[in-house]
Symmetry: C2
Subunit: 177 residues, 2 copies
DNA sequence: CGCCGAGTTGAACTGAATCAAGAAACGTGG
DNA sequence: CCACGTTTCTTGATTCAGTTCAACTCGGCG
């Protein structure tokens, strides 16, 4: 992922914009349209949505991660997601519509764009598989194996909803060591 | 999806190959490499993999659906998936590597390819969300709403594993009407 | 200090899994 | 076309992972 990320930053530089945000900032609000894709250089963000009043984390983006309102970008409609800064961060922002124009003029970059999408896709496939047949504990361990420092960096409540369990269950899982 | 599917068939015709297969055929076997993408014109297929001996359906592809060994295509490695014909079917087969060459020569089709990928992606997003906070019953109802005839066409065991529940639970859900 | 949100702990409850036994449906060969 | 075996589906009893609700602890911050 990291190499691809770096290449994307380099090759898309002409249409990228660097920005930094503070913890707590809301980069995108549900029910609005946004074509922004954030490439995270440092810090941590998450996207989340509400399910009957309950805040559910859809995705975490740490260093070399990417986050955006995928539904808005793809369907060109208002998004169900919010994007929040969890740690002061430095990001490169890409406007997806600009990207499409840029790709028209630089077809040589199409392959890179495709690869990036594919990585994001495979990530989701893995998560889906985890959700269908792993126990809460196994899902937690899988997450911490992939992102060992995540528990130090984001609140356990957010991790719990990301894993599809309650904060209480997560606490008990963590307790049994 | 349907319109996009039709456009893809038309625009990619030069590199597509029509084929038909009988129920029971195994179009792809795990631990082998395959770059084939099947566009389903009629009939039904599924992809599945094994989790400690248990057969788990990853994806169904009915009319206007698409199926392939995504992991093999993306990572260019042996796949964990099998692809099986559930109903006699007519498909258009696309070799993903050929597609990439074809796209180099026809950059005008890049956008179509991207859209197709995006649809597939959003499908997965929805499924993931369903898995994280819907009950077994709700997931079943969601599936039958989207594909009303699926219960007549594919075995309940396959549907159960697709939904991440046991056949017994599915049977009970269906019984309570 | 004292509050407040985040995390923990406990007890009761519940949705779904498991194990086990039958009942249908299904296709294959006589 | 029927009989048989196999696979698929159903039903029941029990167990278990995870939820819910409620109370309590802790660390930071006004």
């Amino acid at each position: 992922m990291k190499e691809l990320f770096q290449r994307a930053l380099a090759d898309l530089a002409p249409i990228l914009q660097s920005d930094s945000y503070e913890k707590g900032a809301l980069l995108h609000q549900e029910n609005t349209v946004s074509f922004n894709v954030y490439f995270v250089q440092s810090g941590a963000l998450r996207s989340f949505y509400y399910v009957d009043g309950r805040d559910v984390t859809a995705h975490f983006a740490l260093e070399y991660g990417v986050v955006g309102a995928a539904d808005s970008i793809i369907r060109r409609k208002k998004s169900r997601y919010n994007i929040e800064v969890l740690e002061d961060c430095q990001v490169s922002v890409l406007d997806y519509q600009e990207l499409e124009l840029f790709l028209n003029q630089n077809p040589g970059l199409e392959r890179l764009a495709r690869k990036l999408t594919q990585m994001i896709y495979m990530d989701l496939v893995e998560r889906l598989e985890g959700m269908t047949f792993l126990s809460a504990k196994d899902r937690y361990e899988h997450l911490t194996t992939r992102y060992p420092d995540i528990t130090q960096r984001v609140s356990l409540g957010h991790i719990a909803s990301f894993l599809g369990i309650t904060p209480e269950t997560l606490s008990r899982i963590r307790g049994q060591y």
